[in-house]
Amino acid sequence: MRRLTAGLTLAFVLAAGPALAVKPDEQLADPAQEARALTLGKELRCVVCQNQSIDDSDAALARDLRLILRERIAAGDTDEQAIDFIVARYGSFVQLRPPLRADTVALWFGPLAVLILGGVGAALYIRSRRPAAATGLTAEEEAEVAEVLNSDRAR
């Protein structure tokens, strides 16, 4: 019985079919608004499909959401308001760009942290392995060394 349930749930989910999204009859007449809708559509995840934006999905629900998105835009919503409208109903799961919150700080700033920590680590490593010269020759001393070396090479 459990398997049947799993099977049914799957059938329900996969009903989406291959992708071919925004249909001609959905588009807004105003090209600027339509362009905004297209940009926003790429940031919203289709809830019933595997891993697609509502713009890329053929699912009926994706179409409904595209239409609602366009309705909100035509009604004068800002991009943010239009996204919030859908998030309020389907949760932050629909945002392909996760919002910056306490629990997503690591996600957004983790890469930078790795870069900085790694950079500090690499700098310390290089310092510890620098030839003795790194412990500090003055400019005059450096020049002197260079001179000696040059004269040496010239010979």
């Binding site: 071919l20 697609q52 934006s53 890329d56 932050s92 799961f93 760009r97 996760p98 690499a122």
Partner: protein
């Protein structure tokens, strides 16, 4: 018969892998040459038996032996022969058998070509490799047996998922697995070095060809997969930041870092423990990818059978391999000696920066892929991480890295001077500046970012070629000789770095300047789009060997002249599924991509895209892979010749500092 032979061969291979684990490890510990030789024989024989098993599976598919459960599940008599063969690795069980086959072949390779390797090191590498064989063969036999029989045998099988019936399936998985599994050799070398407690230039020289041998096919496999998704999924995307794609990108990024750091270890004896860590992590990420793809922990647009039970087993393998090796690392690595001096402005300094950025990029992909799991565990909230996240985090790290790529090969080992290095890159810099001005002139100031991308591509392209030009210019007195004596490793480097430049140009072109149009069309109608004029000539139903399709035929006029092409929506009755076959006109300046959708009284939905320069993404990807292969063919790296070959005896035509 063949299923039983295959089953038996697999069991023998499992027993041999146990021998391959115990004999050489114990032999190396005792210094017993006979036991170590037993390990080599076991590895070679294991390769033979797994090959036999694989041949048996293919035989079952070719002869349509539906009494084999796996064949019945993924093959149909109307399925073309090439796809019946490729179906061998189109299923979970079959692809695991392919995985084990490649593992066994690499193992036999280490045993067969490792003649000049220090005997105890080779024995330990084989022993560790035996553990991997043991783990994966028992995974295969006990949880995913490909040779189960069906009784009674069905008269007809279930067709392979039509999305997979594509030339892509024939090459994509084998190439990816050559990469994933290939990194296992570097992993085994790393663990063996930890066991031995020593790592030296010879060790680094040994793992570099194996890393290259994994990296080059992985690069090709990812490129191919991207191209496959582009034409098959029907909406013209080439990279989706999907978990399954990320699973292949992570080992690639870290493997690229490994490729470079091993060079430093070989030439300068530095970065030893870091290189070992990279080798462990690169293969571990391959395993994590396998886990991710097969356990169902995340959802993906790409087809794959998932099963949490198998996930537990793969997790067990991960714990036993990565967990144990990292524990060993914590214990033994601090004692590893690597005493070379290190100047910040030097080739090795450049590689350190390269590794830093590649590690941060890997972290980006890792965080993006797995944070939905972490966050749900933390507070039960479901989040999604999609392309908008990666565009904001991956690109800002990738761009500086690519700006640095050109400097790497221009730097001298040991020490260099910043001023002189800048001097060396002035011509590529000027050319990149020219590209920037041209791109702004053509694309307008609105596309400043895109112009920057094109300039970056040109910088990479010219900067890489400059390595060769400088070399040949310095030896211009004997031009032919200096061209002929250019080490293949240098040629490979230039091709790979130039490939990266082409990739950047392709990505920039298609991201900045693509355009699309959707409309209802009827036969006879003509539409103007992106400098092309498209006419639908006919719309009809056609039949293929195992499908029926609605087919739209078009004629197109563009500035290169007229041509025709067709777009289909296929229905596969025995699999009860649909696929979209887009019409694609490929060109160096841009692709024209047309796919059809639903029909209504108003006509059929036609979606068209113009993808400027997109083909350079794949040309660049394959160039990188070819660069890897050319580098692999370098005499200095050729396995066996490596140990005795002296360090760069190649003429140093560059003027000494």
């Amino acid at each position: 018969m063949s299923a039983e032979v295959g089953q038996f061969a697999l069991i023998l291979a499992l027993l041999l892998s146990a021998v391959q684990t115990v004999a050489p490890l114990y032999g190396a510990h005792r210094g017993d040459g006979v036991l170590m030789a037993v390990g080599r024989q076991a590895a070679i024989l294991q390769g033979v038996f797994v090959s036999v098993a694989f041949a048996c599976l293919i035989h079952g598919y070719v002869t349509c032996d539906f009494s084999m459960a796996l064949v019945a599940q993924h093959s149909h008599t109307t399925q073309p022969l090439a796809y019946r063969i490729a179906a061998s690795w189109g299923s979970h069980e079959g692809s695991m058998l392919l995985w084990v086959l490649i593992l066994a072949i690499y193992g036999a390779g280490v045993a067969g070509f490792g003649g000049t390797l220090r005997e105890t090191l080779q024995a330990r590498v084989l022993g560790v490799q035996g553990v991997l064989g043991l783990a994966f063969l028992s995974f295969l036999i006990f949880t995913s047996n490909p040779f189960l029989r069906l009784s009674p045998a069905p008269v007809e099988g279930t067709e392979l998922n039509p999305l997979l019936q594509d030339p892509g399936l024939v090459l994509h998985p084998p190439l990816l697995y050559l990469g994933y599994v290939g990194f296992s050799v570097a992993f085994c070398f790393a663990v063996a070095a930890l066991l031995e407690g020593r790592v030296d230039a010879a060790w680094a020289r040994w793992i570099r060809p194996w890393v290259l041998a994994a990296w080059a096919p992985l690069t090709a496999g990812i490129t191919l997969g991207s191209g496959w998704a582009y034409y098959e999924l029907g909406w013209g995307g080439w990279w989706f930041w999907d978990p399954v794609e990320n699973a292949s990108l992570m080992p690639w990024l870290l493997g690229t870092a490994l490729l470079h750091s091993a060079l430093v270890l070989e030439r300068r004896g530095a970065l030893a423990s870091w290189t070992i860590l990279l080798a462990i992590l690169t293969f571990s990420l391959s395993l994590v990818g396998t886990f991710l793809v097969r356990s169902g922990i995340l959802t993906s647009v790409h087809a794959f059978a998932v099963d949490p039970q198998r996930g537990v087993y793969i997790l067990g393998i991960l714990a036993a391999t990565t967990g144990v090796s990292l524990a060993l690392y914590a214990w033994r690595a601090p004692a590893l000696r690597a005493g070379a001096l290190f100047q910040p402005v030097s080739r090795e300094g450049g590689v350190t920066l390269n590794n830093l950025f590649l590690t941060a990029l890997t972290a980006t992909v890792f965080l993006g892929t797995f944070s939905p799991v972490f966050i749900e565990m933390l507070n039960g909230d479901k989040i999604s991480v999609g392309p908008p996240y990666y565009n904001r985090t991956f690109a800002p790290l990738a761009v500086p890295l690519m700006m640095l790529v050109v400097f790497g090969p221009m730097l001298n080992w040991k020490r260099d001077e910043a001023k002189r290095v800048l001097q060396r890159v002035r011509i590529p810099a000027i050319l990149a500046g020219v590209a920037l001005i041209l791109a702004v002139a053509l694309g307008g100031l609105d596309h400043l970012l895109a112009a920057g991308g094109i300039a970056l591509g040109a910088w990479l392209l010219f900067g890489s070629l400059a390595v060769l030009v400088r070399r040949w210019w310095a030896g211009r007195a004997y031009l032919v000789r200096s061209i002929l004596t250019t080490p293949r490793a240098v040629v490979g480097l230039v091709i790979a770095h130039a490939g990266l430049g082409m990739l950047v140009i392709g990505v920039t072109g298609t991201t900045a300047w693509d355009s699309e149009k959707v409309l209802n069309m009827r036969p006879g109608q003509t539409i103007e789009f992106a400098g092309r004029s498209l006419t639908m000539i006919a719309l009809e139903t056609v039949r293929g060997p195992n499908y029926e399709a609605r087919q739209a035929r078009f004629s197109v006029e563009d500035r290169f002249g007229p041509y025709r092409f067709r777009s289909e929506r296929r229905f596969y009755p025995s699999a009860q599924s649909q696929t979209t076959e887009a019409a694609i006109r490929v060109g160096f300046t841009g692709n024209f991509y047309v796919s059809i959708g639903e029909e209504s009284p108003g006509g059929i939905v036609v979606r068209m895209w113009s993808h400027p320069l997109i083909v350079w993404i794949w040309i660049g990807g394959f160039a990188m892979s070819i660069g890897g292969l050319v580098s692999l063919s370098d005499r200095r790296l050729r396995v066996g010749a490596a140990v005795r070959a002296p360090l760069p005896a190649a003429p140093q035509p560059l003027p000494a500092e």
